[in-house]
């Protein structure tokens, strides 16, 4: 049986087309990078979810292991891991992000 935390994460990244695991909530982001990532997606107008992992260190550790990525926030688009704005901004510059988001929200 998969680790329950991992199963929970798998479920969340399937449920939310754009998902930001970060510090704090959508209403009250507790870290500059989490806020910056939200503002980044606000430019596009697609819906996104923020899940606060500060109160749940075990989940935060499971996420780090799953993604081999030590920092927060962690962004998932359409169930795929994309790091954070350090990855998304170069993708945007290369014109890779817009098509990905269009494809992700195509049939919703």
């Amino acid at each position: 049986m998969a680790d329950p935390l991992e199963a929970e994460i798998q479920q969340e990244i399937k449920k939310h087309k754009i998902l930001i695991y970060g510090k704090g909530t959508k209403a009250l982001p507790m870290c500059g990078f989490t806020r910056e990532t939200m503002q980044f997606f606000d430019q596009y107008g697609y819906p996104y979810e923020v899940i606060d992992v500060l109160p749940n260190p075990a989940k935060r550790e499971a996420l780090t292991k799953m993604t081999n990525w030590p920092t927060l926030p962690k962004v998932f688009i359409n169930g795929q891991f994309y790091g954070d704005t350090d990855i998304l901004e170069p993708m945007e510059k290369k014109g890779e992000l817009e098509p990905l988001l269009k494809e992700t929200f195509k049939n919703s």
Binding site: N68, W69, P70, T71, Y82, G83, D86, I87
Partner: protein
């Protein structure tokens, strides 16, 4: 707190040919932007390039000397 030289040394342990430019974003020597140029990035996607740098800086990140890090990782031809 960590010095620019020490940060550069850590990166160079993993990427010996790396040109590293470091910007202290807040003046507290623990919030950095770093730009790493190395041909060892060739053929690696962005996520793997950043993972290489995070692994090289694992120690100072774990012990808190580095609090926040923005990364740019390019090859010498800017790719």
């Amino acid at each position: 707190m960590i010095t620019t030289d020490s940060l550069t040394d850590y990166v160079r342990k993993a990427l010996p040919d790396a040109k590293v430019s470091v910007t202290d974003r807040t003046g507290t020597m623990d919030h950095f932007s770093i730009r790493v140029v190395s041909d060892l990035f060739k053929g690696k996607n962005l996520l793997d390039r950043h993972r290489l740098i995070y692994n090289a800086l694992d120690e100072p990140m774990k012990d808190g000397r580095i609090h926040a890090l923005e990364i740019k990782a390019e090859t010498t031809d800017g790719g």
